[in-house]
């Protein structure tokens, strides 16, 4: 395989996506960018002639990991609105001083 423009664009997009996953303000946006990062990784596995890894990455690396992140994000944000436990108020007082 000779390196084509496609490969170079793919690699640049991967690095760009990784950067934006880590710097975007919104966590939800970061998770969605991470899922697309996983899909592009699957594409690069295909380019490197590793179809087994590509299948696993598309299903696990982006699909299931993304679902895990989204459900965790939902649990964290729904808790923020909900009730608080007593012990964490004490910790917050300590930390605030």
């Amino acid at each position: 395989m000779v390196v084509s423009a496609f490969d170079i664009i793919l690699c640049l997009t991967l690095v760009w996506l990784a950067w934006h996953v880590l710097t975007s303000q919104d966590l939800f946006k970061a998770v969605v960018l991470f899922i697309s990062f996983g899909l592009l990784m699957a594409l690069s596995w295909v380019r490197l002639q590793a179809p087994d890894v590509a299948l696993a990455e598309a299903a696990i690396g982006s699909g299931l990991t993304g679902a895990l992140f989204l459900s965790a994000l939902r649990r964290m944000t729904s808790h923020r609105r909900g009730e608080r436990r007593l012990d964490c108020d004490e910790v917050r007082e300590d930390e605030g001083q």
């Binding site: 991967l14 990784a18 992140f69 605030g96």
Partner: protein, 107 residues
């Protein structure tokens, strides 16, 4: 001079590793740290498979098998880390902690 795919993808793997490490160090949110670790892991996998690719003539299947195992292990690690992060959020309410800390810095 022609650029080999090993060069391009290997360097990408390295950069992904470094970017992920930077995010792991500098981002305050736990979820973002876990995302950063996942990006680091992707970089390592990309590097491994690139080494197995060689010159594209004979492709080494051993790195592929290692990466397949690694993907499943990394999703297990992510699940454990996310469960821990959720627990930390429920117990300490991290968002408030961060707000408090920055406010006390303002004073």
């Amino acid at each position: 001079m022609s650029v080999s795919p090993t060069f391009v993808y290997g360097l990408t793997g390295l950069f992904l590793f470094v970017v992920g490490l930077g995010g792991l160090i500098s981002c305050p949110q736990l979820l973002r740290k876990i995302l950063a670790v996942n990006i680091m892991v992707s970089g390592v996998f990309l590097f491994l498979v690139t080494i197995g690719y060689g010159h594209g003539v004979i492709i080494d299947p051993v790195p592929h098998a290692m990466v397949l195992t690694g993907i499943v292990v990394s999703v297990s690690g992510t699940a454990v880390a996310l469960a821990l992060a959720c627990r930390v959020h429920e117990t300490f309410n991290m968002s408030d902690l961060l707000k408090r800390r920055t406010r006390s810095n303002d004073r």
